[in-house]
């Protein structure tokens, strides 16, 4: 490539050779020729490469040795003894079908084999299918571990917002709790699924308005996505963590991936006291009920 557009730019080393070997296309060659003809530095470099290539034959001939007649005959005899065994094997990565298969396998592994990948695929499916995903989308979401959002949500009593529940170890089995859906103003149990180096936190928000703040110090190490819902929800990265802001009557599911090197995930909902959730790699699965009712819009 020419290092800058236009005829005034210098030629890079590789371009000098391509220019001399006339391997550039017509326009590129024309630009290079115009530049070289008006640039003493590049003219000198072209001359240097030309001289170098011209001197090579005599230099290299100093290394030549006569072919040994004995070795030559020996080689010819070996060649005549050799027998056809089949076509030359094409290197693995030069086979187009295998290349494509390898790429697809890699994408599937990343998409379905890692929590961030599953969250991303789930989010993409929900984004494409909206709040009413079809049977296939629901099946894929099931494979990904995402429950489809309930069709309707019972409205919460406006006058008496319930207080946030303290963190507690869940006693209900998770699938049943998720299918039934949480009471208005609360979340479903929050499952923690430790992977090899991270923990996937799935939060199902059922609040009317307000925000949640997930605090961890190194925000770029964590991934968060809305995987269902999408009604004016927003995820705002902050220096301390992540702020989830819901609009009125919002329903949204969030998948948040946090590296297991963090010992605690601090969650604060609206003006409520901060909840401190321990993260343990050894713990295979834990669930917590946290309230999502916010007192401030």
């Amino acid at each position: 490539m020419i290092s800058d557009s236009g005829p005034r730019s210098h030629l890079e080393d590789g371009d000098l050779v391509r220019y001399m070997d006339r391997l550039m296309d017509r326009d590129e060659h024309r630009l290079a020729r115009i530049h070289v003809s008006g640039c003493p530095a590049c003219t000198s470099r072209v001359q240097g490469v030309e001289n170098g290539l011209a001197a090579l034959p005599s230099l290299l001939s100093a290394l030549d040795e006569p072919v040994s007649v004995g070795r030559r005959d020996q080689a010819l005899a070996a060649v005549r003894r050799a027998r056809y065994r089949g076509p030359a094997a094409t290197p693995f990565l030069q086979r187009p079908m295998l290349q494509a298969a390898a790429i697809v396998a890699l994408l599937l592994t990343v998409a379905f084999g890692t929590p961030p990948g599953r969250a991303w695929v789930g989010g993409a499916i929900v984004a494409l299918s909206g709040d009413q995903p079809g049977p296939f989308a629901r099946r894929v979401l099931g494979v990904l571990g995402h429950e489809e959002p309930p069709v309707a949500v019972a409205p919460a009593p406006a006058a008496a917002p319930p207080a946030a529940k303290p963190a507690e170890r869940p006693t209900l089995p998770r699938p049943q709790a998720q299918r039934q859906g949480p009471a208005p103003g609360t979340s479903a149990p929050v499952p923690f699924d430790p992977g090899s180096n991270y923990v996937l936190v799935q939060v199902r928000s059922r609040q009317r308005a307000g925000g949640i703040i997930f605090t961890f110090r190194d925000t770029e190490q964590a991934v968060a996505q809305v995987v269902a819902g999408r009604r004016s929800e927003s995820l705002e990265p902050t220096p301390d963590g992540l702020r989830v802001r819901n609009a009125s009557s919002s329903r949204a599911d969030y998948a948040i991936t946090v590296p297991t090197r963090y010992r605690f995930l601090r969650v604060r909902i609206g003006d409520e006291p901060e909840l401190r959730i321990p993260i343990s790699r050894a713990q295979h699965e834990g669930m917590w009920n946290i309230g999502l009712q916010a007192s401030s819009p």
Binding site: G14, L23, L60, A62, A75, V79
Partner: protein, 165 residues
Amino acid sequence: MNVTELFNEHYDALFRYLVRLTGDSDLAADAAQEAFVRLVERPPADRHPRAWLFAVATNVVRDSARARTRWFKLLSASPDRAPMGDVQPLPDAAAESAERKKAVRTALDRLSLKERTVLLMREEGFAHHEIAAAVGTTTGSVGTMLARALNKLAAELAPTSESLR
């Protein structure tokens, strides 16, 4: 074209290229023979035989260089086992030729095997795409590697009477 004709047409050029590449005529002869044997056993379906022969012979040299590196490491660990020969005095003309040869050889050996391959295959008249296939790089980077090899060679030979510029 049958294999004997291919052999007669290309063996000498391949041997010359390999001697320049390796500085070892025995290794060059071995690699050239191996490339032709492989040509018979598993001929290429979609490449010109000449380019294929040079690429395969280069691979043989590269594999052999790895094996020799291990061998030299073993020898350096026990120098008593290294085969040694007597050094014969040379006449003046031969000494001068040997001096020149040594200078060029030293300069070439300072290049990486890839750079040497690019330079020598270019000298044998191969196109950039054929050189790229032999060294396992892109066609576009052959020019860069060639320019770099020429610059290095010029720098290595600059203090001597040999000059590329």
